[in-house]
């Protein structure tokens, strides 16, 4: 890899041993992909994936402390993934004991480290950092050192920024040196589609189910999706962006997609059209039957597959302001139709603290509260990331949550029925 004299000097230890190790990490990371050079990060803010103070992750906090002790700081402020705990979310005595006394004992310590390392705001904890309310929205063409798979795929695909699927720790190390290796999704070639996915469904496909199907098929490749604009339109309005947020998260967690192009909708597809399709691209056709097949193949790992759900999580990734409003309307209508006044399954809607703050200023907030739905800034995945939850029948319309936990996936309509009328 070619290094500028400035980069070489850092690698040689001009700025200290720890900084040299950070640079070595970035160079070795780039070498694994035959990156020819390091390029400057151009975004205003970074985004980190590691938000949780898990006792078992002590090696991460030890490493962060090495950075702090050496005065090796990020040049950028950053947002970070959601906090793992919120007392508003229902939990048993035993769960609370395990969370607070066993699992997340490092939370306060780690949050203090994050503040010292450059957290952009005390409430900058969300996986959907690109929401207007949060304020970490990169511009088209910006080079990022982000992690968090759902945020990376959104930034690349919907915003047109350039970011590889960086891992946690690599995210902050790129930001510290100010450079990232030039490979993969940073390059024009790496942004070309090696799959053409044709949507031939008879109705608007469920975002998280479609994303799951595509993720599992193309894995880490770039898909060029044809026929989805029929259902989403040709403008990246709030509705389309929300759909793509959920769709992208499923492609990234069920596979390893870091970028997708939607014909006639996402920025590069609008500009370049089919010129984005690489020679020899493979084809995947998705119709109603294919989506049904994918859904049926999800394993059910509840101890009792017929158990009544005890909890419902919506908002992985975090919900948008409009989603919270729309779901308020839907839950109210569902309850009215069922003759119920409150949801029949404890239900948690999760969103960024700043989004919840804005939601709280609207008349919808009181209406949603009246339905019994709880709002929280929590990360559902972190909440469920323990053996106690493994035996707990949780339902969700998040395919990301389904992938990493024992939560069972249902479509949005099925979830609405379950929480307002009862049944699975």
């Amino acid at each position: 890899m070619y290094l500028t004299p400035e980069q070489q000097a850092i690698l040689d230890g001009e700025k200290g041993e720890v900084m040299a190790k950070v640079m070595k990490t970035m160079v070795m990371y780039g070498d694994a992909f035959e990156a020819e050079k390091l390029v400057p990060i151009t975004s205003n803010y970074n985004h980190l994936v590691t938000s949780f103070g898990l006792k078992v992750m002590s090696p991460v906090y030890d490493l962060m402390q090495q950075l702090l002790d050496a005065g090796v700081m990020s040049g950028q402020k950053f947002s970070v993934d959601p906090r793992p705990l919120d007392k508003n979310v229902p939990a048993s005595f035993l769960q609370n004991f395990v969370f607070n006394k066993f699992m997340y004992t490092k939370q306060a310590f780690y949050e203090d480290q994050l503040i010292k390392l450059g957290l952009m705001d005390k409430d900058a904890f969300t996986c959907a950092c690109y929401m207007d309310e949060v304020g970490n929205t990169p511009k088209k063409g910006d080079v990022l050192s982000w992690a968090e798979s759902s945020a990376v795929v959104y930034a690349n695909s919907v915003l047109g920024a350039r970011c590889n699927r960086n891992s946690g720790i690599i995210d902050i190390m790129g930001s510290i040196v100010g450079f990232v290796p030039y490979f993969g999704l940073l390059t024009d070639e790496g942004r070309k589609a090696t799959w053409v996915v044709k949507i031939e469904t008879t109705k608007k496909p469920e975002a998280q189910l479609l994303g799951s199907a595509i993720g599992m098929k193309v894995m880490e490749d770039v898909p060029y999706i044809v026929g989805l604009d029929k259902w989403l339109g040709n403008e990246l309005d709030d509705s389309a962006c929300t759909y793509l947020k959920d769709f992208g998260a499923a492609t990234a967690s069920n596979g390893a997609v870091g970028l997708y192009h939607i014909e006639n909708l996402t920025p590069e597809a609008v500009e370049q059209g089919t010129a984005l399709i690489a020679e020899g691209a493979r084809e995947y056709i998705i119709d109603d039957a294919e989506l049904e097949r994918v859904k049926k193949d999800y394993p059910v790992i509840w101890k009792n597959p017929d158990a009544a759900p005890k909890l419902c999580f919506m908002g992985c990734p975090h919900m948008s302001l409009q989603q919270l409003k729309d779901w308020t309307d839907r839950v109210e209508a569902g309850l009215k139709e069922a003759g119920n006044s409150k949801v029949v399954i404890p239900t948690v809607f999760t969103a960024a603290p700043k989004v919840l703050e804005e939601f709280g200023k609207t008349e919808y907030a009181a209406r949603l509260k009246a339905t019994g739905v709880i709002t929280s800034y929590i990360c559902p995945l972190m909440y469920m990331n323990n053996p106690l939850c493994k035996t707990m029948p949780v339902i969700t319309s998040s395919n990301k949550l389904r992938t990493y936990t024992s939560a069972r996936y249902y479509t949005d309509d099925e979830i609405l029925t379950a929480i307002t009328k009862g049944g699975k």
Partner: protein, 148 residues
Amino acid sequence: MMKEFKGRVVTPGTCTAEAVVTKQGFNTLASMQMALQFGDKQTKCGDQNNADINGLPLCGKALCLPQTIGSTTGGLVLYCANAMGRQPACMLFANHIDSLAAAGAVLADVWVEGSTMPVIDCLGDEFLDYVKTGMTVTIKEGGIVVVE
């Protein structure tokens, strides 16, 4: 029958270990999170979506895989496994290594004192077709992988 494959060295080292083989993408977070958190010294795979290896021990094994997938915590999970001494003996990729696994391998190599988890990639589809869970895998110098 013994068969030799040649790949690319991502992080160097030699070892001999029993193979654990996944034909589908290895979801690092889903596979290792519970085991690392709750003191499973064998690091048994906990990925419900991976029938190939769900429930099998990963610690000290030769993990043979096409690539890793899933959450971008993947690299730091691998780094933690290494720092805790609960990592696979080596990782052998049929495909080019992905960015998350590469991060984990590099972080372990640079930041974990005495870490030894050789990583070889680009071994090809034939490697993954040939190697089966339970076979013995030996990594030699220069990216040579012997399966028997």
